[in-house]
Amino acid sequence: MSLTETPNPPASAPPGPLAARAEGATKIYGSGDTEVRALDGVTCGFEKGRFTAIMGPSGSGKSTLMHCVAGLDDLTSGQVFVGDTALGELGERQLTQLRRDRIGFVFQAFNLVPTLTALENITLPVDLAGRKPDQEHLDEVVRAVGLANRLDHRPSELSGGQQQRVAVARALAARPEIIFADEPTGNLDSRAGAEILAFMRNAVRELGQTIVMVTHDPVAAAYSDRVLFLADGKIVDEMADPTADRVLDRLKQLGD
């Protein structure tokens, strides 16, 4: 495949068009003595068609950054954009619509509605919008996740790995501008985790999907094109074409 052989642009190269970005994003919980700065003036961008990992120790603000960029949480100050849309200016209803139509989600666990079948879960955002799913695209996604014979099963009848594959398929099915994955392999054994990660990377390379993943696992981060390192609510470093060992070293330094 030609895509896999194309070298990734170096981190220092001027960034391509951005799927989402944050400018001076600051999130403060509490006030006075109990004040916690979860995000402290973060400015960053997530390029289209690339797989970005956000890493950092517990409490570094990586999940908060993701929640804010994904429109699940709001900022104390600063601005986040999905495409050219400034999220801070959107109301509750518009945010919901944004999440439904332009963003995909994969959570660590409890990703699926237990009363719906695998297929119904996959088409949920499209159904919620009251649209007909794009059958060709849907077939392609389903084939890619390898769940064609499990589509009628309820989540409780699927293994953990299969459930996460359904979750990824759901995120892909609506053709969102960007997918946010929050520790998507956190609950899986290493083999099932590797499957999911490879699948996500393929989605980026073959379908041109944009994915942002929060993880604390260097092996998972190694599947991404670029890693952002957060500590104490600030971006402290980034790394292009990461490998597990390099990421681990970097994390050790951050831990010091």
Binding site: R93, F110, V113, L124
Partner: protein
Amino acid sequence: MLTVVLRGIRSHVLRLAATVVAIVLAVGFMVGTQLLGATLRVSFDEAFADINQSLDAVVRASREMASPFGGQRMRIDAATLEQVRAVPGVAAAAGEVRSFVRVVDDEGRPIGNPDSGPPTFGLNWIDDPRLNAWTLVEGDAPHASDTVVVDLRTAEDAGVGPGDTLVVDLPTGAESFTVSGVARFGELDNFAGADAVLFEDTVAQQALGEPDRYDWIAVAGDAGIDETELVRRLAPTLPPGTEAVTGATFTEETAGPFREFIVQFTAFIGAFGLIALFVGGFIIYNTFAVLVGQRTRELALLRVVGASRSQVLGSVLAEALLVGVVAAVAGVAAGFGLAAGLRELLAAFGFALPPRAFVIEPWSLAWPALLAVGVTVLSALVPARRAAAVAPVAAFGQAAVDRSSTSRLRLVLGLVLVAVSVERSLAGLRSEGETAFWNVGGALICAFLATAVLGPLVMGPLATVLGAPLRRLTGVTGHLATENARRNPARTSITASALTIGVGLVVVIAIAADSASASITNATEATFDADLVVRPDSFLGLSPQAADDLEALEEVATAAGFRFAPTEVLGTQTTLVGIDPSRAQEVVDFGVVDGSLDDLGSNSVAVSAREAERFGLSVGDLVPMAFVATGDTVLQVTAIFEGNPLLQRSARFVVDHDTFDANHPPSARRDAQIALLLAEDTSPVLARAAVDEVLTAYPGAESQDLGEVTAGQAATVDQAVAFLYALLFLAVLIALIGVVNTLLLAVYERTRELGLLRAVGTSRRQVRAMVIQESVVIAVVGTLVGVAIGMTFGRLLFELLARESRAVTTFSLPTTQLLATVVLAALAGVLAAVYPARRAARLDVLDAIATE
């Protein structure tokens, strides 16, 4: 362990709210009605005892004839009074006279209670204060023949006082009197709810009863003489056919029916509290089942750290006990509030009760509370046993799946209940009288229990069928709502079952009432050929002159008066009707099967076919009968009539007016109904106007056409039905609280799922719609099953009623009402979901996702 229980309650106090509300409502209702019932009962007992304080004995005719207006006895000779006074030990004696009268205002309109309320009595004034319960508050006793004393309330209603003129309609005709005074009856402003006019002795005898006769003689004994001893001394001196009873016996006879009525009425209303509590049990069961389910890990953890099974069982039961006790105590308090409110309400409707503190009978407060606690603990027993069965290992794994819905035991138990219900229904159809009703009632309870047991098995398919249109209409939210309604079939179906009970009972009543109304309409239309009916507003009846005046109108072809009295045939109580044979046959189709009504004259009687069969009578037979004024007589049967069921029931033995009048006091020689046949080629409107013009001379008389007659009777049925609905509303309300409860518990339980749905783009509106649609599915399932059960048992009840009471003959299905019930249920479902839906929509997405 107690600490665990208390902390547990505190942590999910909101989740227990519905349970508490259900218990408080049911207990409050039961306690409130018990409290008011006991207070009414004791108040009346006290009032009667107070009024008859110095009454030691009563002398009266021995023979009593029962009638709908209380027992009627022959009057006794006034001369007996002197004989009684001569008996040693008698300190005072006075004759009493009582009859119905009507007070009329300046415009000729009757004053007093409306026609269904307590009547207005005419009494004689007794001078001896030892035997007079009345106390003058103003003016003097009625010592002249043209003066009267009225009770305080009548004086206020009529706006009269001493010196004013008052028109009183008497059995002998309307007369004008001067008010000499205003009086109170013991502690009361009126005659225990009724109005009263008191006349001078001789006037009372002539106008109300019969000259030189008294209804009974009241006797006060000398100080120190025992009531029984007084009666023993009186007895031998009395003429034949006369008896003496103690004051206590007399008071008991007067107060007894009142008390009996109050006791039965209280018990009847209390039964609806039991229904409510039964429904409440379903909610309690659901709440604890969900709490235990949600706390599986916590319970398992308790097991891990060393709690025994019985300790876990105990902790859940202790929680139920505590909740039950707290709610029951609050319910008792609410009962006091309800009783106070009801007392105000009664007062506002004119039924002022004697001022008195509530009568608190500990047991009548304790049993609803204890029952409620019992129901709570019992309802929590199954969930508690499930909690005890939680394995310690569950602390580390996934919560167990609820498989109770598919158990074979459930199916077997449900089918057994269905079988018992069918068997009891058939037994009900085979048995007679009260037994039949008990059998069918038992069958109904079994049917409700079967619904609750089998519900989980059919809930899924039912929800799918009902959800199909929702899915088509609203797409994915309808789909999610339907799936949610069936995901916990046990819980959903229990919730729906609670509604099934309320709706089922409503439908049974609706069908019985509709059939009764239809039967009345059919019977009235079949009985009367009359164009108009004239009726009085009270037991006083109409003067016979009214019928003659009406027949004298050229617009009126026939005016037939009907008089009613109790009578005895071969020693058995039955009803006597007095008619004018030629006029009555014009307006009523008697359906004579043997003999002829034209032969009805002095000393002859016509008998309904049913009574003829009962007493074995045929035309030409001599029948021994007894009448109120004249006692034993023998009449000859001249006709037997078939009529229709309504006629059969109201007219059993029929005599002509002369025979009727000859055997009854003047107060009874009055028409309870006049049926009119209009002259041909007369405009009904003009004829009616002419009739009403004549009736202005007869206060309280009102004309009705056939439509108004049936509408009036149907309105009586409607009133009774409205009352029953009001009582059933409690059970339906509790069932709806159950729906709110189930939805709220589901929202708590599905917090993460809701968070997920919101995260992937479900709008708040869609979340709300989803919860509301789930609620509608539950409500409609419960209602449809209730309608089905109600229709089955409504039909059964009709069969029983048709057999027991000949008044119910036509089965009628109130289709519109049944459809309205289902639509209302759907609306109630929407209403019940408002709060849970808002909670679900307001969940913070991030918090919800983060929830464990």
